[in-house]
Amino acid sequence: MYRYDEFDHAFVHDRVEQFRDQVTRRLSGELAEDAFKPLRLMNGVYLQLHAYMLRVAIPYGTLNSKQMRMLAHIARKYDRGYGHFTTRQNIQYNWPKLSDTPDILADLASVEMHAIQTSGNCIRNVTADHFAGAAADEVADPRPYAEILRQWSSVHPEFSFLPRKFKIAVTGAERDRAAIQVHDIGLHLKKNDKGEIGFAVYVGGGQGRTPMIAKKIRDFLPEEDLLSYTTAIMRVYNLHGRRDNKYKARIKILVHETGAEELARQVDVEFADLKNTELKLPDTDIQAISSYFALPALSERPEGWANLARWKKADEGFARWIDQNVQPHSHPDYGMVTISLKPIGGIPGDASDAQMDLVADIAEEYAFDEIRVSHEQNLILPHVALADLEAVYRGLVSSGLATANAGLITDIIACPGLDYCALANARSIPLSQEISTRFGDPARQAEIGELKIKISGCINACGHHHVGHIGLLGVEKKGAELYQITLGGSGDENTSIGEIIGRGFEPEKVTDAIETIVETYLGLRNDPSEIFLEAYRRVGPQPFKDALYGSTAAAA
């Protein structure tokens, strides 16, 4: 993974000291809240319902054991013993004192981490496929490009005060695991007929109150043009993006109002001026950054195959975990392990300090010191020998981290919701816990198969409900919580926005409604291989409306 050079260290250190001074002046009353608020937000410090919240950047979701141990240390020393991994591959702490935040940032800096650009109208943490550099189906590792974008966008003077926040995601495989089509810019790393590396460029995707699927404006952008073309997009957005209305300020609105073709033309005009400037990426620079992300030296471990078969036969729980939470690696003797942060009835994305320490220990011993955070709020060990899976599993079981539910109905994404968030209208976490408990039986989950439930506590859609196979949006109606259900959303290479199925449900009726939807699906699917999303796309909403509201109900 990328390592800070002396300039990075100096910059982050200086930034910590600058913020320490700002916090000191704020606490002494020298700085008023109006002046301080934008400064704290630039350093990831929000104010939520119960306390401040600190959002720490985990670049493209990649971290090592030392960094994970520091995250555990911060949870233990400055917070309440846990952290919350987010849908943007970051971590949030829910209870830090403002007076402690400079020390927290100093601790983070000591392991090459920070909270810069985790808030504000700037380019946020660049996200990537959590299986990057390991997946069997990968064309190229997206992380070097994400890192190049990270360096380019960090305190970029031209793009620090955009009309609105800006999110970039990169994937390196045909199977999109980074939800690139619901990002401001989505980059799909691919090879052309000549075997050259480049990107399909998508612009103007996003969720929130106006969900939109990104438009592809370039089918193949050579890698050397990554920064010049991205800069061109940013310039068009910075110039023409709306600043008069924050709800219409994202680039998706500009793309929608301008038209993708015209926007692409404007980008090309800017690009023509930028293409042959210092923004052109020399191959040596790409290679230099790529060298930080080289695949570890994976020795041949063929003994794993026989062992795995034997262990699976002996332990049903282990077999289930292997089948559900281990994916094929580019090296046949290895696998990619998903550590579920979705225990049955638990809080999606939360991990205690002890759990973080344990993951760090396991990663160090068995996974080449690499850990990832997925946008689905799980942790990933990208390189584990099949021969070591049994030991990894035993370690995870002991800490409640071996739930075999990756991609299943209990692998629910949920935003913090009204339990923490100052923007939320309804709670997300208790609902996810209730659904998880209802469907927690392993056999039932297996019967249902792949089904992604995503829950947001307000229209800002941090819980990605628009792209949930089943999406739940919490709203406030007459002072009480109400949940709208959407069906048919998806955040993969065939992205779709879920359709509202009908009138909303009171909190105590939502899980029953989910059960009705699931039973309807089970009754109409062609066979068990037809997953919920496929069945929904085949039959449409009506059977589900009939089941939920009665066959005489008007189509809502």
Binding site: L27, Q48, R80, Y82, K97, I347, D419, I429, P507
Partner: protein, 104 residues
């Protein structure tokens, strides 16, 4: 008139606080001073502005409450969650709001 209390978040640590009758910011809604007429509400609002200007608290708001069997209860769920803490068991040993909080 709906009863009201003054709430905010403490500057130094962000913890939710309410103003009591002695002018202190306290961590329990149950210790808050309840304004039951317009003059008292105006006094709360003035106190809130002063406290904000004095950099003691942030996000200062007057909120609606009701008193049920001697227990103060915000009308909005948002404020009930602020007063009672997260409704979930978020850390070992923590118990969130007890009983249903769905009702308006």
């Amino acid at each position: 008139m709906v009863d009201k209390v003054l709430t905010a978040n403490r500057l130094s640590d962000g913890i939710s606080v309410w103003l009591d009758a002695a002018g202190n910011w306290v961590e329990s809604l149950q210790d808050a001073f309840v304004a039951r007429h317009a003059e008292a509400v105006a006094a709360l609002e003035a106190t809130g502005k002063t406290a904000f200007a004095d950099n003691k608290v942030v996000d200062v708001n007057v909120i609606d409450i009701e008193e049920v069997n001697g227990v103060l209860r915000p009308l909005r769920l948002r404020e009930r969650v602020r007063a009672e803490g997260p409704t979930i068991e978020y850390a070992p040993g923590y118990k969130g709001l007890t009983g249903p909080v769905h009702a308006a």
